[in-house]
């Protein structure tokens, strides 16, 4: 009896078999082939002075080890309003986590740690969120009902997040299509995780309770780039109000992905939109590969319902050579070998680039059974830990058949039972297809298991809060003060003749209102203003440090100054680095430090004939183009700001 084969070869072969293509090589036909489908949940912090349900300041953050007190909580599942337990809730409870919160007096009061009922909702946050709801063309509710959404992972000390729907059924207009919005909610932000080791999870509470909105789209996106476009649109729309927070962590999105026959899987907390395409691409193919495993397994196993694992405990003497295996045989730990009937050549099948099916099990062992990784090896490890002799020994001890596989894991005694249940549960799922789950993302475009996907069963009315009526008069007043649509702004910039490659930055930083003022109030040529804001400013922000908080509106003052001093607007490009670095410096001083001298236009033009003569003397190649080039280079520095370079070039 031998199980020998090359797992690496199996990985490669199975990848080809499902028709995996790299994203850069993928076409719409590839996505149509696997039935790519995706929707978004875009989270955006609202800019307010205070948190949503208490009077702590919003946006005051502290480092991991800078805290004043710690408190400990455990979470238990409770019934939903409709009398059911939520699947995720039950799973989280199995993990028996001890959750510790680090709190800082400045940013956390007794509300966040659930020792005081909520205060009335922050009206500033509600109003800002309603404006965004209106911009998203949503049907605004008549009365806001605060709901509790259960989170048993501990990310909120109460065990639930207070959240409320402001509108349903909206839409956004992308370049080529409309995308439907399911709903927009206002909610309190959660804790930030510091660590999660074994049965202990550590959080800090600075971000907890800050106001946040969540825009949820229908799964209308049919390829990864479209998902990113939709996400950018929603983020730009949010930012166009000027009433949202920007910077690290202020905007994050969950990306829902499925393939044909797959399931809704939610990739959580993607911080940058540019990561979306790779992540959603890989997720769709991960599901596609798991569906192929279903096909294989259902062929091998006729009666899936009776499929079971069996296991034996391994002793130190059971291994031939010194087993080179993570901290094996520690006190109170057990090493267990688990037989997976009919899983031969399945554990090493491709799921994502660099990942195999066995990883799906290992990740669940980490989350559900609290076994820190590395927590297992198996009979098809791409980087074998056991030597061939031990592999065969274990197979023999397990009385395994030719088409079986095994897992070998090491766990504290108390966690063995949960670990075995977890392995069996995940393996049984292959007969069904793709499990619904939330997954954590990585920069390389891969994801790992995070939680079972929660359902509507985790909602419960907040008995501590009264409903908030929204009168039609109030809604109409808000509607009057709205900025115009992103899609209209897009068209306007096209009409102004501003090149499209600078739009993203203008939307991202919400510079459109400033752009409009520069063009209409100061008559700055549209393309000068557009390129300055969308390209020059972007470059400066990426390469220089500002000594103070840089206020974009001060750029209006800069252009106004140039206009008043009758200096050409082009000089702004020379001033911006200095001004950005020292925003408190007055404009005249900026001119001095960049060495600008005001010279009359005529004086500059007057030098041309002298320089022409000079070129005749020294020029190596005597032709018209080189002459112009040389003369320009001599005059450029003194000309900028005093005469338009295009005008000067024409004269030369």
């Amino acid at each position: 009896m031998t199980h020998k084969f090359d797992p690496k070869e199996n990985y490669e072969k199975s990848r080809e078999e499902i028709g995996y293509v790299k994203r850069k090589d993928a076409t719409q036909a590839d996505y149509d082939r696997i039935g790519f489908m995706s929707g978004l949940e875009v989270h955006q912090q609202i800019l307010t002075k205070k948190k949503l349900f208490c009077h702590c300041p919003a946006g005051v953050f502290n480092a991991h080890d800078d805290y004043d007190a710690e408190i400990v909580r455990h979470m238990r599942p409770t019934l939903s309003e409709l009398g059911e337990y939520d699947g995720t809730a039950l799973m989280e409870f199995r993990t028996r986590k001890e959750i510790t919160y680090r709190i800082k007096h400045e940013s956390c009061c007794t509300y966040e740690i659930d020792d005081t009922p909520p205060f009335p909702i922050d009206r500033e946050a509600l109003e800002n969120a309603l404006e965004i709801s209106l911009l998203s063309k949503l049907n605004i509710v008549g009365e806001v009902h605060i709901t509790r959404k259960q989170y048993l992972d501990g990310s909120i000390p109460a065990g639930f997040q207070r959240t409320a729907i402001l509108g349903v059924e909206g839409e956004i207009q992308l370049k080529n299509k409309k995308v439907g919005l399911i709903q927009l909610s206002i909610e309190e932000d959660s804790c930030r995780e510091i660590s999660d080791i074994g049965h202990n999870r550590l959080y800090k509470t600075d971000r907890l309770g800050m106001p946040l909105i969540e825009t949820v789209t229908y799964p209308d996106f049919v390829n990864p780039d479209e998902v990113m476009e939709g996400c950018d649109y929603i983020r730009f729309l949010n930012r166009s109000t000027g009433k949202v927070r920007t910077g690290m962590g202020a905007g994050r999105q969950d990306v829902n992905v499925s393939c044909r026959g797959g399931s809704r899987v939610e990739i959580k907390g993607v911080a940058h939109t540019k990561w979306i395409p790779e992540l959603s691409h890989n997720e769709a193919f991960r599901q596609w590969s798991i569906l192929r495993i279903r096909e294989i397994m259902n062929k091998r196993v006729k009666d899936a319902k009776s499929w079971k694992i069996s296991h034996i405990e391994m002793k130190e003497g059971d291994f031939g050579a010194n087993p080179n295996f993570f901290g094996i045989f520690e006190d109170n730990h057990k090493v267990v070998a688990v037989r997976l009937p009919h899983f031969y050549q399945v554990l090493s099948r491709f799921t994502q680039p660099g990942h195999v099916f066995a990883d799906e099990i290992s990740e669940r062992l980490k989350v559900i059974a609290c076994l820190d990784q590395p927590n297992m090896t198996h009979s098809e490890d791409l980087n074998p830990i056991l030597d061939e002799e031990d592999v065969q020994k274990i197979f023999k001890k397990l009385k395994a058949n030719k088409d079986d596989a095994f897992i070998l894991f090491d766990a504290p005694e108390d966690d063995v039972k949960t670990a075995l249940e977890t392995i069996e549960e995940r393996c049984q799922m292959v007969f069904e297809g793709v499990p619904e789950e939330t997954r954590k993302s990585f920069v390389d475009g891969s994801t790992i298991f995070e939680r079972v996907l929660p359902g509507a069963d985790r909602m419960y009315p907040d008995t501590d809060s009264a409903p908030i009526p929204l009168t039609s008069d109030y809604i109409e007043t808000l509607r009057k003060g709205l900025p115009n649509d992103i899609v209209d702004r897009f068209k306007q910039m096209q009409d102004w003749g501003i090149p499209e490659d600078v739009y993203t930055y203008i939307f991202k930083k919400n510079l459109y209102p400033l752009l409009g003022r520069l063009i209409t109030e100061l008559s700055v040529p549209a393309n000068v203003a557009g390129v300055f804001l969308g390209q020059k400013l972007k470059y400066i922000e990426g390469h220089f440090q500002s000594a103070d908080v840089f206020d974009y509106d001060s750029l209006f003052d800069l252009f106004a100054f140039l206009k008043k001093e009758k200096i050409e607007y082009e000089l702004a490009n020379s001033m911006i680095a200095e001004f950005y670095s020292h925003p408190k410096m007055d404009f005249q001083s900026v001119l001095n430090s960049i060495g600008f001298k005001k010279i009359a236009k005529e004086e500059i033009i007057g030098q041309i004939s002298f320089l022409n003569e000079k070129y005749k003397e020294i020029g190596r190649i005597q032709d018209e183009e080189n002459r112009k080039h040389w003369v320009m280079s001599q005059l450029r520095k003194s000309a900028i700001g005093n005469i338009k370079l295009t005008e000067l070039a024409a004269i030369i």
Partner: protein
């Protein structure tokens, strides 16, 4: 007949009737703000008649403004069945038998649509469904004696509870737990201390500060601690068992006469005042703090004394108080009065005539303290001596609420002035103590470096 429109009234009710949409009906509502779809939910009675509540498909609730509705249609019906899964509470030989009395409160609760608040749910099966760990602590039997919120507990309930306890002790139970709302938990604890004397077994009152419908509720842990204390501790006293720190770490057992609710919402709200608690407790062990408590016995010789005179008043003194405040008690036929005085036990001179009137009428008037900590000392200042001369009786370090309970209990047995005075000053279980230990008063001040160090290092 079932109410088809639970909680709806006025215009909202008219609208539902007009379009024949029931509560729990799935419906489509077209409004001037667009279309909404979901299940119509009951509405809280105290909310307005301008909105209809719906649960939309994503599980969230929303309200629809009735003024905006142009059309509504019921497309189905789906009534929620809210029940904590009931499981037979197992009997484990060798574990103690504990009786749980339910009085209401948030120890176990579910949603009440009528008020939008939570109402108690309670049976061994429900409790086992929600907190299966209880089966590892004791064998459990439960009995609902009443279902009232804590603030509605009063003398009637104290007396019937005392009798029920007496009966259970006679039946041979190993320990008693009483589930109770937290607001007046300490009043009931004091009342039971006086009404159930020489109990051979622990009597433990427990509540929760966060209702059990929340994942981070303290209810489950409090219940486990209380069951452990009732079944396995050798402290045969009336005690309150609640969170020690706000963290999920351990509970404290407080003597029923020295405990007080000290924060409106904190989990660790109950504190022993002027002394230390009896013990710390977790799921596995009871760690005594005091050693001189009443020990568990095998006999069943309990004294049940269910007496109470409800006409007892309590007057919280304010500066500038006039005699009429006290006179109104006297004129309304109150049979005894507890004054909660300032500092060492003082009130102003304006009250003197009223105090003299009470004395003439033979109404006993006692002095307790707004400071809560410390003893009444009426010899220190002239005011105190004046008051004593006028017949005011200082109650040492008896807590004001305990004094009120005890006076009601005493007056329920005798109206003889001297006897009332004697009984009030003769402690039954440390409601007046002879000494206040140095660590009996520890209200630490935040911001002070050594306290900040403590708060940082210890999960308080």
């Amino acid at each position: 007949m079932e109410d088809l429109f639970q909680g709806y009234k006025g215009e909202a009710l008219a609208l539902l009737k007009k379009y024949k949409v029931r509560v729990w009906g799935t419906a489509i509502a077209d409004t001037t703000r667009g279309r909404f779809e979901g299940t119509v939910l009951p509405r809280s009675e105290n909310d307005d008649d301008q909105h209809i509540v719906m649960k939309i498909v994503t599980g969230y609730n929303i309200g629809i403004d009735v003024q905006t509705v142009t059309k509504m249609e019921e497309t189905g019906y789906k009534k929620a069945n809210y029940a904590i899964p009931e499981k037979q509470f197992p009997i484990t030989p060798g574990l103690p038998y504990v009786k749980l009395f339910g009085t209401g409160g948030t120890i176990a609760s579910r949603l009440d649509y009528r008020t939008g608040a939570v109402i108690p749910a309670f049976s061994p099966g429900e409790l086992y469904g929600a907190v299966p760990e209880l089966a590892e602590i004791c064998n459990l039997d439960t009995e609902k004696v009443f279902a009232v919120f804590s603030e509605n507990m009063g003398p009637e309930q104290y007396m019937s509870l005392a009798k029920a306890i007496g009966q259970e002790i006679e039946n041979g139970i190993d320990g008693i737990v009483i589930g109770h709302g937290t607001d007046t938990l300490h009043h009931t604890a004091a009342a039971l201390t006086f009404m159930v004397q020489d109990s051979p077994i622990p009597i433990v009152l427990v509540g929760s500060q966060r209702s059990s419908d929340r994942p981070s509720s303290d209810a489950a842990l409090n219940l486990m601690h209380a069951m452990k204390a009732a079944g396995s501790s050798d402290i045969a006293e009336v005690m309150v068992c609640m969170f020690g720190p706000t963290s999920d770490e351990y509970g404290l057992l407080h003597k029923g006469t020295r405990v007080r609710k000290m924060h409106s919402s904190y989990r660790s709200t109950f504190r022993t005042i002027g002394d230390t608690p009896l013990a710390r407790i977790n799921r596995n062990e009871i760690m005594p703090i005091k050693t001189n408590y009443k020990k568990r016995r095998n006999d069943r010789n309990v004294k049940i004394m269910p007496f109470f005179e409800p006409k007892v008043g309590m007057l919280y003194f304010w500066p500038g108080m006039q005699a009429d405040a006290l006179d109104s008690f006297i004129d309304s036929g109150y049979k005894g009065i507890i004054i909660v005085g300032t500092g060492l036990g003082h009130v102003n001179k304006s009250l003197y005539p009223a105090i003299e009137r009470a004395q003439e009428k033979g109404i006993p008037v006692f002095m307790t303290l707004q400071t809560l900590w410390g003893y009444v000392h009426m010899f220190v200042y002239d005011t105190g001596r004046d008051l004593m001369a006028k017949g005011i009786i200082p109650l040492g370090n008896m807590l004001p609420e305990v004094a009120w309970v005890k006076l009601g209990w005493v007056l329920g047995q005798t109206s003889d002035y001297e006897e009332v005075k004697r009984m009030m000053l003769d402690p039954i279980n440390d409601e007046i103590t002879e000494r206040e230990p140095y660590n009996g008063y520890l209200v630490y001040q935040g911001g002070v470096p050594e306290v900040e160090d403590f708060v940082k290092d210890v999960h308080k």
